[in-house]
């Protein structure tokens, strides 16, 4: 039952300062709340205006179809494809690592784990999720890459494989915890019915819970992949600075995020074409992650309806 606050009337005790505060407070709070909209608007406006300046010097056609990205060299090429390919490689690689492990972990936590084990495992996964990406980057460069060199002697010091694996580890807790939420939301009557028919836990997990939670799980994976695409420090430290379209995981690559860092580290004057490129690349990255987030939201809303 919803009770409402007393309404102000002529004879009410809300006169003077209290009355003013009651009247003013919601308006101030609304103004502050609009700051979040201003932030989004700021991001979109900044990325669009600076990109517009960029596209006055470089055609959109060249940006999208030129297969080379060499804006810092003497012979300049402004094709974003190699950077997008780099980001796609790392995201796909991270997906291969994180999806099986994350889903296995989620099934274990939601269907198998005794309460005691859950209470230890979940905080540990939270710690894993709270480790700064710079630490993961250090780990990729100084521990994972040397280990990979033992398996693939021809691997480059900066390579896509090491970065992909570590980005995968970074998003693993996110997939595990969001997918576990989706599986736990499956009504227990569905489980009980399957158990009553003599199913094993594996059959309940794979044939009842997993299909019922499928859209929720998909949403969690898409959300985690969007995180992977926007990841910066791991790829900056471990994946190199060599944008290319070779799709070789043992080679150096460059992602969109790593390029932005590379340029901002140097002192590029405002208005120069190098300064503008990072906003064009930023706009591309923002558009990609935004679409992925919208997709995840759309899928998870459908999931909520299915569960109901």
């Amino acid at each position: 039952m919803q009770y409402n606050a007393p309404v102000k009337t002529e004879s009410s005790p809300y006169a003077g300062r209290t009355g003013l505060a009651e009247w003013l407070a919601p308006k101030i709070l609304l103004a502050v709340s609009l700051l979040s909209i201003a932030t989004t608007a700021g991001i979109v406006v900044i990325l669009l205006t600076e990109s517009c300046a960029f596209f006055q010097e470089v055609s959109i056609r060249e940006f999208l179809t030129n297969p080379k990205w060499t804006p810092l060299f003497a012979s300049r090429n402004f094709g974003v494809a190699p950077l997008v390919a780099g980001t796609a490689m790392v995201t796909a690689g991270a997906c291969v690592v994180a999806v099986p492990l994350g889903l296995g972990c989620a099934i274990y936590l939601s269907e198998y784990a005794p309460e005691r084990v859950r209470r230890i495992l979940k905080p540990l996964l939270e710690i894993l999720a709270g480790i700064p990406t710079i630490v993961y980057g250090y780990f990729a460069l100084t521990a994972v890459t040397p280990f990979l060199t033992l398996i693939f002697p021809q691997i480059k010091l900066f390579n896509a494989l090491s970065a992909s694996i570590v980005v995968g580890i970074m998003i693993l807790p996110m997939i595990a915890s969001l997918s576990e939420d989706a599986m736990s939301a499956v009504p227990s009557v569905m489980r009980d019915a399957a158990y009553a028919l003599g199913s094993t836990r594996l059959e309940v997990a794979l044939k009842v819970v997993f299909p019922a939670a499928f859209s929720g799980i998909t949403a969690s994976v898409v959300l985690a992949l969007s995180r992977a695409a926007g990841e910066t420090m791991i790829v900056t430290l471990a994946a190199g600075a060599l944008p290319n379209l070779n799709f070789n995981y043992l080679d150096s690559i460059q992602t969109m995020t790593a390029y932005i860092v590379q340029v901002s580290k140097g002192d590029t004057p405002r208005g120069s074409i190098e300064y503008l490129t990072i906003f064009a690349v930023g706009l591309t990255l923002f558009a990609i992650t935004f679409l992925m987030n919208i997709l995840a939201k759309f899928i998870s809303e459908r999931f909520k309806e299915e569960i109901r």
Partner: protein, 290 residues
């Protein structure tokens, strides 16, 4: 027709498969934990012998024996001193509006959709926003103020979400009691809802601060300097931060700097764990009281 023997064998097979997959799922769950321990052990081992009082109190140096983290520690504290109070005030105000005053409608749908979208924007994009608005447009330069404001915007969605949950957890009875005494909506929020939700809001904000402490990309874009031998004296001074120094040391060619970086990571992780422990203590202290 299935005979008794065939049925028995099938049940045994299904049970065995269940047991095998139980093991596989457990391995998946332990994989993350294993990596966590390998990572921490690796860093601690590499930092051994490099981490001492001198490392915390001295400035960075081109000589690896003398490199220290003082500027990074102070710089990170300055960033947090700007971002934590600002994001707390703005975040709590937004949360109060959305939970207590907002009526369902277009504006509120817009604000809410916005906040969930903002939480998914890559942190480097916030760096670009800070670079264009604070550094260039408002003319704050590559200063500690620009960095702090950028981090404020970055953690604002986290603070809002946590504060909304804390407000929602306030029992309706408390509000009703306040209304019954004739208090208005704002008075009720100020005197009843906020004090009761404060521990939860503080916990969420502290966790957001720990996120801000570890962020590297946005302040790198905004223009944190990788090498400095002085502390920021004013809001408009240049700055560095703990993750920035770690990034710098990791990228230096001399092998010894890897150990310096490891020592830096240990310091950063100790700070983060203490901040998180503070949040957990706060949560445990107040969660039983209601």
């Amino acid at each position: 027709m299935i005979t008794g023997e065939a049925l028995r064998r099938r049940v045994i097979r299904r049970k065995r498969r269940d047991a095998v997959f139980h093991g596989i799922f457990l391995m998946c769950a332990l994989a993350g934990v294993a990596v966590l321990f390998i990572l921490l052990l690796d860093v601690v081992k590499k930092s051994a012998g490099w981490l001492d009082i001198g490392f915390i109190t001295s400035f960075d140096s081109r000589k690896f024996e003398e490199a220290g983290m003082a500027a990074g520690i102070v710089g990170s504290l300055c960033l947090i001193a700007i971002a934590a109070p600002l994001s707390f005030v703005l975040g709590v105000a937004t949360a109060v509006y959305l939970e207590e005053f907002a009526k369902p409608g277009r504006i509120n749908w817009l604000i809410q959709t916005n906040i969930s979208n903002l939480a998914g924007v890559p942190s480097i994009v916030y760096g670009l926003l800070g670079l264009a608005i604070f550094v260039r447009y408002l003319g704050f330069g590559r200063s500690v103020l620009s960095g702090g404001l950028t981090l404020t915007l970055l953690i604002l969605p986290i603070v809002i979400v946590a504060s909304r949950e804390a407000i929602r957890a306030v029992p309706a009875g408390l509000r009703h009691a306040s209304y019954a005494l004739g208090a208005g909506k704002w008075t009720t929020v100020l005197r009843v809802v906020l004090p009761s939700a404060l521990p939860g809001m503080l916990t969420g904000s502290i966790l957001a601060v720990s996120r801000a402490l570890g962020e590297t990309a946005p302040i790198l874009i905004v223009g944190a300097v990788t090498y400095t031998a002085k502390l920021p004296q004013s809001l408009f001074d240049s700055f560095t931060a703990m993750p920035i120094q770690i990034y710098n040391w990791t990228g230096l060619p001399k092998e010894e700097f890897r150990h310096v970086a490891a020592a830096g990571i240990v310091v950063l992780m100790i700070v983060l764990l203490s901040v998180n422990a503070l949040a957990i203590m706060l949560r445990n202290k107040y969660s039983g009281k209601r």
